[in-house]
């Protein structure tokens, strides 16, 4: 009871600084200290956001962005977990793949945009590739480290029970390294969202990133800010969803 009240109190405390910033912003705007063409007030942005939602215009770009995000993120997780486990469990695959991973991993992925334009054209293939490239490495590295860091007792338990290699991977290695895999997935989540928006700005024909840049170029600044708010909400919602999923998937975390 008191714990809950304490947490509620802390939550309210955390609201103070954003509310304060919004108030200052609103007053500055109303007192004419800022240029309303470049920086509309929070209330004006809220009105634009409201219009966006009620008109249903939000659905198209949101679905577009969410689609690219989900496709890229899911692909990155599958590839990252797959290669991570392969490299951690086979010395041959480790020797084969480690140099390649270490060459590609440190490249700032936006630097590859021109290359991808050349080979894949300006469009969906480039955007998806970029998202996957950005999101795959944190998952890959933490999966690899998670599997390599498993307690030998766990693997020896499997060996003494005559468990096949495939079943060891699926029913022991994968669930046992899940906490580490999820830690990598959390990092990738943020990265993927950043790159989705960037990709849409550079090569998109629709989506929130495309919209934001398009509105900026046509001086519809209020709508532009409204879309940025949508983006903030989307990021927050994804993180929250991830927290819930993680708690459901690894309830033993930190307890065994």
């Amino acid at each position: 009871m008191s714990r809950r009240r304490e947490r509620l109190g802390l939550g309210l405390l955390g609201l103070v600084s954003p509310v304060l910033v919004l108030c200052i912003w609103e007053f500055a705007s109303r007192l004419g200290w800022t240029n309303p063409v470049l920086l509309p007030s929070p209330s004006q942005i809220t009105a634009a956001l409201f219009a966006l939602m009620t008109s249903g215009a939000i659905a198209g770009p949101l679905a577009h962005t969410a689609g690219l995000f989900v496709a890229g993120y899911v692909l990155a997780v599958l590839i990252g977990v797959g290669i991570g486990i392969a490299m951690a469990t086979s010395e041959t695959l480790y020797g084969l793949l480690e140099p390649l991973v270490e060459i590609v991993r440190p490249i700032p992925k936006p630097a590859l945009v021109p290359v991808l334009f050349l080979f894949l054209g300006i469009g969906k293939a480039t955007m998806l590739t970029l998202v996957v490239l950005a999101a795959v490495f944190p998952v890959l590295i933490s999966t690899f480290q998670g599997v390599r860091g498993l307690d030998p007792v766990l693997l020896e338990t499997a060996r003494t029970f005559q468990v096949s290699r495939a079943r060891t991977i699926v029913s022991i290695i994968l669930p046992a390294s899940l906490p580490m895999i999820l830690a990598g997935m959390r990092v990738s989540l943020g990265l993927a969202l950043v790159i989705v928006i960037l990709a849409e700005m550079l090569a998109g024909e629709d989506g929130i990133g495309f919209r934001i840049l398009d509105l900026e170029r046509s001086f519809q600044v209020r709508d532009m800010f409204a879309w940025i708010v949508v983006l903030v909400a989307m990021g927050g919602a994804l993180t929250k969803l991830f927290d819930i999923a993680e708690r459901g998937l690894v309830p033993w975390r930190g307890r065994s």
């Binding site: 020896e156 338990t157 060996r159 003494t160 468990v163 669930p175 690894v250 033993w252």
Partner: protein, 266 residues
Amino acid sequence: MSQRLGFDRVTKVFEGSGNDADFVAFDDITLEAAPSEFLAVVGPSGCGKSTLLRMAAGLTDPTRGKVVLDGKPVREPPPGVIYLFQQYAKSLFAWRTVIDNVMFPVEGAPRARRGELRAQCRDYLRQVGLDGFEDKYPWQLSGGMQQRVAIARALAADPQVLLLDEPFSAVDALTRMELQTLMLQLWERRKFTAILVTHDVEEAIFLADRVAVLGARPTSLKEVIDVGLPRPRDQLTTREDPRFLKLRHHITASLLARNDGHVASA
């Protein structure tokens, strides 16, 4: 049927890395557990007792000599030889419920037998005193209960040889006695061959038919002692038996590398 497991002139050398010299863990050990025998191996901490069991389980190979299971040399973990780890918490699967942990060894069985096997595993849990804990997770249980889950899982694997690697050393004294009694009950019921390594002299005498005493590094076999205490054994009366006390004295003295007479006259 339980099986005969023996060490035939086993030597284990750990190669030193870099400038470190090679380390001889065992030198020329010959020891055999007869079918359905309860054999205990005691030795000072750090003498590599666990390595002996790991070789028996096929988890690591001897450098010279061989481990023999019913006449066949052991290289890979053989079926029916089950290892009970000291670190039960690491050996259990945290993401599985208690019953699913116990089911693990039999999951390869045909689907049609699933129901029957599940009932059997529930019975194993009942035998180790975990009735009603089927759907809990290991991390929701106490240490002693977790080791009980590991024991039930070992039973599910139908052990011919059970290797016990200080399995009761990480729990409190009272729980340890309960688990020892439980282990004896299960052993008398199932008649598997049991090899226990421990540094606890009383535990070795209380449980085993014979106690093998290991010497200092490089570890060699000092002596093998017939316990000869009546069964079933009891935590109170067995431990008060004059023969128990005599054996305890003898083995402890041997481990302390003093001779009996010297200790007696002290």
